[in-house]
Subunit: 209 residues, 4 copies
Amino acid sequence: MSHYNNFAGQRIGRVEALSDGVFAIAMTILVFDLKDPVSNLLASDTEIRAALYGMMPKFLTYILSFMTLGIFWTGQSTQYDYIVRYDRNLNWMALFFLMFASLLPFSTVILGNHIHSKFAVGLYWLNILALGVLIFLHWQYACRKNYLSVDGDAKRLVHEAVTRRILVAQSLYALGCALCFISTYLSISFIIAVQLNYALGIFPKNKPA
Amino acid sequence: MSHYNNFAGQRIGRVEALSDGVFAIAMTILVFDLKDPVSNLLASDTEIRAALYGMMPKFLTYILSFMTLGIFWTGQSTQYDYIVRYDRNLNWMALFFLMFASLLPFSTVILGNHIHSKFAVGLYWLNILALGVLIFLHWQYACRKNYLSVDGDAKRLVHEAVTRRILVAQSLYALGCALCFISTYLSISFIIAVQLNYALGIFPKNKPA
Amino acid sequence: MSHYNNFAGQRIGRVEALSDGVFAIAMTILVFDLKDPVSNLLASDTEIRAALYGMMPKFLTYILSFMTLGIFWTGQSTQYDYIVRYDRNLNWMALFFLMFASLLPFSTVILGNHIHSKFAVGLYWLNILALGVLIFLHWQYACRKNYLSVDGDAKRLVHEAVTRRILVAQSLYALGCALCFISTYLSISFIIAVQLNYALGIFPKNKPA
Amino acid sequence: MSHYNNFAGQRIGRVEALSDGVFAIAMTILVFDLKDPVSNLLASDTEIRAALYGMMPKFLTYILSFMTLGIFWTGQSTQYDYIVRYDRNLNWMALFFLMFASLLPFSTVILGNHIHSKFAVGLYWLNILALGVLIFLHWQYACRKNYLSVDGDAKRLVHEAVTRRILVAQSLYALGCALCFISTYLSISFIIAVQLNYALGIFPKNKPA
């Protein structure tokens, strides 16, 4: 008897397209939290500038969340560079991963509104952690099932590099979250600094390929 | 005379791309129903936590709807694994299917706001039913027209597995909906349990392919 | 000297992907006009049902607009079945076409809120007309420039079928709009009937291909 | 030791898909700033028309922003016509480029609400400038690293044409912004005129390819 579960959820191209959609939307709707702060439509330039200045926490969390999404999108995209087979278990790990990506705008609003709240920082960090756990499991499962395009030493190198990157990044995010007991601004700034470092590829230095 | 209807709506790739778009957006805008419940921007952590706790019905319906969309997206994606030809009838079944997918965030808001209302549960179930009916017709039509990539026994096996999956799932959803006459929470929990079972592939157990 | 305009905007795949995105989003954000009409969260089932019943104009315009978008999306998709070359003029016709597609949710809100207003019907019709004019120009230009994959008689047949379909449909929409001088409901119902006819392919009857 | 940075972010197809998503969404959510201006649901046609007429600044900024996004989308798409290799530096330039594309709806709201504010015009221009700088760097980097599909003279011609187009366009936008010291309407009209010229390809005239 052929069972539905044996052939469902195997189209990598569709999962990638859905992921690009969810990430594109999540990135773009972050901007919904940025609203015109000036109700008076005939406000002077000075008033508008002052009001925008008061939105600093929101701009900060906007950049934070855009980079978070960019990093996890790049990370997931890199995995698909190597994954050539797929099954319904990976399909559902990817869907739950997308669920937490689509929740990030919510965590961002909470954090942007309550920039001094340790609880809001913790909630945001839980969101990052969930993304990290799911992308980690997705990779381990694909490796264990031999769904990669590479084999032998190449597989080992790629496997270790991806695994290490996730673990190091998540350790730094956890450290960043812990800093909220000193100051939530310090906490957020540290996480953004870690992200900028990853985005700009400053440290550890790229070796020539 | 060449008739427009004979060559319109035959591009499977476009329908898949549109579907990925609609599902990605529907999944992501579910989060719009999750709003910061704390108007006081200087609220204490305890207040924020309590307010989020009061949002439980909304988190519940969020997970419910994300999984509903994930299941139907996976189901539709699986059909396209086998469908290699297309015509305008399938095109419009797919479009009406997407219409009900894009209506799900609305049904979700009604349910999230009125978690004790049998009527809201019934409305939500009608939405699931419409998705099921359309994906069922889509499959039957494609099979009848011999638009599949498989033939003979392989076709029969795939055809039966897909048909059985839709019918069993819809029966369970109908049962779940009926449970609202006991309790709407029971109803929603039962449907989530069915969905989790499908997502995690627990029962019936996957046989080795 | 190589001029930028000679090589910009030639990627059909990207234009198709952008179109799928815009249509998917426009289709899905139509639902934003459907809001929970019941502010009282402990409302009885009867109250909820009555409130939803009062939303009939909005459901009507929702279906109207979803079908409008579905028809134009199918029409554009059919053109790309035949167009194999592209240039920046087509690129910008496509972009302005998408601009009016993304305006449709706005026209829909105006119509849904003012279901008895001839002006709102006229505005909605102008939106449909703009979509029709742009998709018409897009096709004529591509034919004139010999950008199609077909030639000779095949080209003539396809060219005439597409042209005829756009002209007939737009004439019926114009007639539908004119009916608003009798009743706006008649006007909207007539347009939906025309659209359903196109979607279901009832009349003129499909001839076997 | 294989380093994560050496193989991350190299999938051009994914970056293109994400870009199409972000642009499609940014283009479509511009419409969110267009709201039904008539609260009275039984308003007369005259009232509705007058209210819509009062929304002129918003329609103006809507067209402005749709064209801005269309131009940068076309520009980016043209670059990908020639770029055949990719690395994580390009990946992150593309992500920051998308960040400013997704910020445009916010700049648009500020400008639409404060059409007489020089500060709002300046803010909008900064957004255009940021898009220009990033797309410029993206191109220079890809050329310098020899990631293009063309070589020798062909490369030089393409390289110069793309570079010239960005620099000329940005100069015109800067000039347009400076005009706000005379009148913000003049400023916006000038930028729209520049954009229309680029969209319609009027001046400089296309030479036959």
